[in-house]
Amino acid sequence: MKSTWFEVARPQKIDLNDWSQHFRLVRDEQIKEFNYYHNPEWGIYLSPPATFMVYGARELKRLKFDNSLASLRMWGFVFNESERLFRAKQMGKRVIATMGDLGTVPVIIMAFPNCIPFYPECIWWTPFFKESTVLLDTATELGIPEAACFSKATLAAFHKKAYFPKPDLIFASTGASCDDYSCIMQLVNDLGYEMLWLEIPFRRHNDEQYPDRFEEYLISEYERVWNKMVELTVINDKTGLIPSIKKANRLRSLAERIKQLTYEAPITPLPALELMTIEFGNLYGYADLDEWLDIVEMINETVAKRVEKGIGVLKQNAIPIAWITPSADPLLLNLVEDCGLRIVGTEYVINQALVPIEENVEPFRALARSFMKASLIGSTQERIKRIIEGVKNERIKGVLVTNMLGCSHCAMETRLIEKMLSKVPVLSIDVPVPFGITEQLRTRIAAFAETLR
């Protein structure tokens, strides 16, 4: 059986050409086995990453990927999202844009049959994968300053109407979070897209036992989401929330398990790029939660096997670091590992999508409680609490902070983070525009690794 190659191959990071060669070993039955929206006829997505490079994701030819079948499946699925969303619309599913809250509203949307939530802001990776500034330039033409979060690509995507279908509903969460995205959503609204605005609460500093009213605020917002969805679908069955929460929890626990296995293994079993993609999958399962769950299960098995065998993708002496604020440019994650570092902790501003949702309380209250753990609604100190703990117990030897020029929370938090983590070296870098990674930046990362070594 040809596909046994995947079982015997030594774990490693491989490039596009290698993947194209190995893909020949994938059996036809295997390709048909994986499909989105449970449709084997047109829902097939397993393909070599080169396919997506040909369709415009030019950076793929410079990236290195994990060589497992599970990772191949993951990339095929992730890059297929745009097609999937358009297909969903074609087949009569409701496509719902959830913006700004990063992780909670989709759990409500998924309680409704045939409703697909997605995060338009996840388009922020697109300019980097495509090595194109088209979306960013368009955003500038539409009024967004050059120095702003790369999520400004979202506005351009709404304007161009080509990256995802017109959503049936838009939920826009704003409040005690970053300014950039709130302003972007306002401009999307101004393009003529109607949206239901939702309030994100503020978690006051040192307020571990926040007042009950904070939960009540959120619950009333979730009721508004529910009512709007009922209006759209003419379905009003709150029992649907229970399986939806259970699924979200299954995904969250799997992602956490993969992260822990990867962080704690003597040899890193899965690269940082794949790990980041898994972490962000918690937000909405890349618009097909069932299939994504299956993929993550498969990755979990792969990682567990590798750990059991004591094999992995990086050298054993790779130095453990933490990463704060996600990078819009995936290549940076490759670069860091190429310099002999490994990621053993992250704070990617999506803590609310990682924590378990309580299953023994009323669903909206459970969702509210999980959201109250969100990264950006509290203080910087709370945000990096886990990283500080990792530094204290010497699990983390250094910290990399990625910033975006002009981004409201980066500008205010980074120096503070450096101070709070002063016991270990901290490298703070600005993510350059697409195709903008220079030798100077590579040298800075290499020097950081050298300092740690």
């Binding site: 539409l142 009024g143 967004i144 300053p145 120095a147 702003a148 826009a172 704003t174 409040g175 005690a176 979070s177 970053c178 300014d179 950039d180 709130s182 302003c183 972007i184 959503m185 306002q186 401009l187 609204n189 101004d190 605005w197 939702l198 309030e199 609460p201 503020f202 006051r204 500093h205 009213r213 605020y217 203080s379 910087t380 100190q381 910033n403 020029l405 002009g406 409201s408 929370h409 980066c410 500008a411 205010m412 938090e413 980074t414 120096r415 503070l416 101070k419 709070m420």
Partner: protein, 325 residues
Amino acid sequence: MELIGYTCSYTPVELLAATGFKPYRLLHGNVGFITLGEKSVRVDACPLVKSNLGYIMANQKKFAAVVGSTGCDMARRMFDVLKELTNIPVYLFNNPRTDKPTIFYDEIDWLAGELECLSNKKINSEILGTEIDRWENARNRYRRLDQKRASNPSLISTADFHRAVMNYHKGEIGSAININENQSDKPRIYLLGSSIPYEANQILELLELDLAIVGDFNCGISRFLNINIKEKSLNGIKVAYYNQPPCIFKRPNQPFYEFIGTQIKELECKGIIAWTLDYCDSYEFELKRIGRIFELPVLRIRSDLSFQNLSQLKTRIGAFAEMLA
């Protein structure tokens, strides 16, 4: 310690004053303070926030506490820095972006409780009533001035008005207000945008060499005049502060545009000056809309508060005035 600093137009000064400390609006725009602030935040932070931070760090002993809201993200996160680097008590209340009065009212109740603990003083309705009278009287005095500024022709300059309102913002509401009338027949314009710091008076002077600023929507100039407390109680304070003309960061921000549109019409303005500080998302993202919605010529002035480009600016302002005349 005599001051209680605050950073946002939604902060009720009457409540702060009830503690016995003097409310002091943090509106600094000085390069020296900016440099000091840049030791604790990145260079791409808002210059007003950096400067305020620098000012507080340099004058820590003056402050009994600092109060702010979640309004602007950078101003909000300044409180994390203060918490970490100083011993000044800080209080940050949630100013909801969407129309959620309950949240605001609950937060003001919370703030009142915290301020009682800070000052070791019961903030009862009698104290609040006195403070409401004092501050409302002060606002009335400034309203009379504002009417002269808004009259056609304008009788006082905004630069003079700004110098006068600094006393209000610094808590010196008993000070005498002396402004000489100086009629202006220059093109009438409306000023909006980021805060006008104390040290930015020179920008107003520069603008008024060729123009007459007859109305504004900027923290630091006349926004406080929109506060009109009708009921002498904490509830009256909540209602007045919550229902002021909305800040541009409120979502959706259509009511902001409606308010400004009405102002511009009433004041018979021929153009708009959009003043933005570097990295002020709330206004910089909206500049195109401002031009489109009001259908008036807009002069955009972006500043890092270093005031190094005054000559170039003078030429731009002159050209703008020529276009309006």
